[in-house]
């Protein structure tokens, strides 16, 4: 299973990559939204793990771009963000994310959720 991780904070990006690779996924990690979208169009991942606040293209814009791309219809999006207000969660789901996790987060829970959203996306 292929995962694209879009996270601008190096330590978090590397930790997520390590955890997902340890769980057996093929991971492509990028530091901004634009690079993540380019990579997603190239590798057609099962799941994209997206940080909200990123340079160039933020997580919401990335999610909207993924939803508008016919080649990525089978890709699930998991938003990982420090934004925890009710309206932020609503905005995230309105943009088309499949799941939403708030930082500080548990990397183990993230792996479980990635597996769950990927499984749901496959059965769509």
């Amino acid at each position: 299973m292929k995962i694209v991780v879009a996270e601008d904070e190096t330590e978090i990006r590397e930790l997520i990559k390590f955890k997902l690779e340890s769980a057996g996924f093929e991971v492509h990690a990028e530091a901004d939204g634009e690079s993540a979208l380019r990579t997603a169009r190239r590798v057609l991942p099962d799941v994209i793990v997206v940080d909200w606040m990123m340079p160039r293209m933020n997580g919401i814009e990335l999610c909207q771009a993924v939803r508008a791309d016919a080649s990525l219809t089978g890709t699930a999006v998991l938003l990982l963000t420090a934004k925890s207000q009710e309206r932020d969660v609503q905005r995230g789901f309105a943009a088309g994310v499949d799941d939403y996790m708030v930082k500080p987060f548990s990397p183990r829970e993230l792996v479980t959720r990635v597996e769950a959203v990927a499984s749901r996306a496959r059965s769509r």
Binding site: S106, P107, E109
Partner: protein, 359 residues
């Protein structure tokens, strides 16, 4: 005095030499700093796989991390500082455990005594991020550090450590020549949360005036129902307007119906306008039948902010409050104008002025 051409030329040459030397020194310093940062980055990159592996399988990897040279240990701490704020759960616990096992927490405790303010601040930050309970006395000491950033970092760290015994020291740190900024102190106590309320309630009653005021505000923000009798007592005492305002606001935030009578008394016309303005909002937050009539009366107050707040408070109460406002809005005069304004601001139906009431 006339300066000779030779003297002017010599001065120019000296200036030029000074400028060249300064420029050279700046370039060397920048290059040195850039190389230092680059090497630090490389050390973090090299170390990262070991740390992540240790978080996954501590038994196999901690021994390697325990024997790191000093610069690599600094890189490990930098890496931990980058990870800890974003983590919870087992991985966070393991990272803290690794920091303990490799004695980096002990090193941070020692570095709170360092002569370098940067080292003291970094040590306080790490102890806070790792939530090290035994660091509480050292962090309390750093609240009076000679460096402002160290004091602020210590306050934030105490909030994360979460020991309610820090509350008094945090509030004390608001005063004096080495004061901690009030937002750092309040954020730290709010982070401690409900366990802080026992100390806050005691300080509300027995602290110095400024501390009592901040304690009242914090009790309201935490939503401490147990503080209601104390806050009502403050309202009914001659504690001064500053404390009365904070207590009234706190009671509104807590939403304490048993405070309605004491708050209503604060809306008497002889009370200061700033207190009446805050009290009106507080009564709106609490709601209830007893608040309605007193708020409606207050919409006729001669002070703009008091009358406006009372009308908006009736909107906050909702139901009967809005019915009362709708009726008042049909009437001429100031109260009617404030009622119409409040309904309009709330996006409720526009109300026409009753032509029968216009003289």
């Amino acid at each position: 005095m006339i300066l000779s051409p030779t003297l002017i030329t010599d001065a120019g040459v000296v200036m030029l030499v000074v400028l060249v030397v300064l420029g050279f020194a700046t370039t060397v310093s920048k290059t040195f700093r850039a190389r230092h940062d680059h090497r630090a980055l490389l050390r973090v990159r090299k170390l990262r796989p070991f740390v992540l592996a240790a978080m996954e399988h501590p038994a196999d990897n901690v021994a390697t991390l325990s024997q790191l040279p000093r610069k690599e240990r600094d890189a490990f701490v930098a890496l931990a500082r980058g990870l800890l704020p974003h983590l919870r759960g087992v991985d966070r616990e393991r990272l803290v455990q690794i920091l303990e096992t490799t004695r980096l927490i002990d090193a941070a405790l020692r570095q709170t005594h360092s002569r370098s303010p940067i080292r003291r601040a970094r040590a306080a930050e790490l102890l806070g991020l790792a939530g090290v309970a035994r660091s509480q006395p050292e962090l309390v000491r750093l609240l009076r550090d000679r460096d402002r950033d160290v004091r602020r970092t210590a306050a934030r760290a105490l909030g994360i450590v979460g020991d309610p015994r820090s509350v008094r020291a945090l509030l004390d740190s608001l005063d004096g020549p080495r004061a901690v900024p009030v937002n750092a102190v309040t954020m730290a106590i709010l982070r401690i949360g409900a366990p802080a309320t026992t100390e806050l309630r005691s300080l509300l009653l027995h602290g110095p005036p400024a501390t009592r005021a901040v304690a009242a505000e914090l009790l309201g923000l935490i939503g401490s129902t147990g503080a209601v009798p104390g806050l009502v007592g403050v309202l009914e005492s001659d504690a001064g307007i500053e404390l009365h305002i904070r207590a009234a606001r706190a009671l509104g935030r807590i939403g304490a119906p048993q405070a309605t009578a004491a708050l209503a008394a604060c809306l008497a016309p002889d009370q200061p306008a700033p207190l009446r303005a805050v009290t009106a909002r507080a009564l709106g937050d609490i709601g209830g039948v007893r608040a309605l009539s007193v708020l409606l009366t207050t919409t006729r107050s001669p002070e703009h902010v008091v009358a406006s707040n009372a009308a908006r408070a009736l909107v906050t109460v909702g139901g009967e409050g809005i019915t009362m406002l709708r009726h008042a809005a049909t009437q001429p005069g100031r109260a009617g104008a404030y009622a119409r304004e409040a309904l309009s601001v709330a996006g409720l139906d526009a109300v026409e002025l009753d032509p029968r009431g216009v003289a």
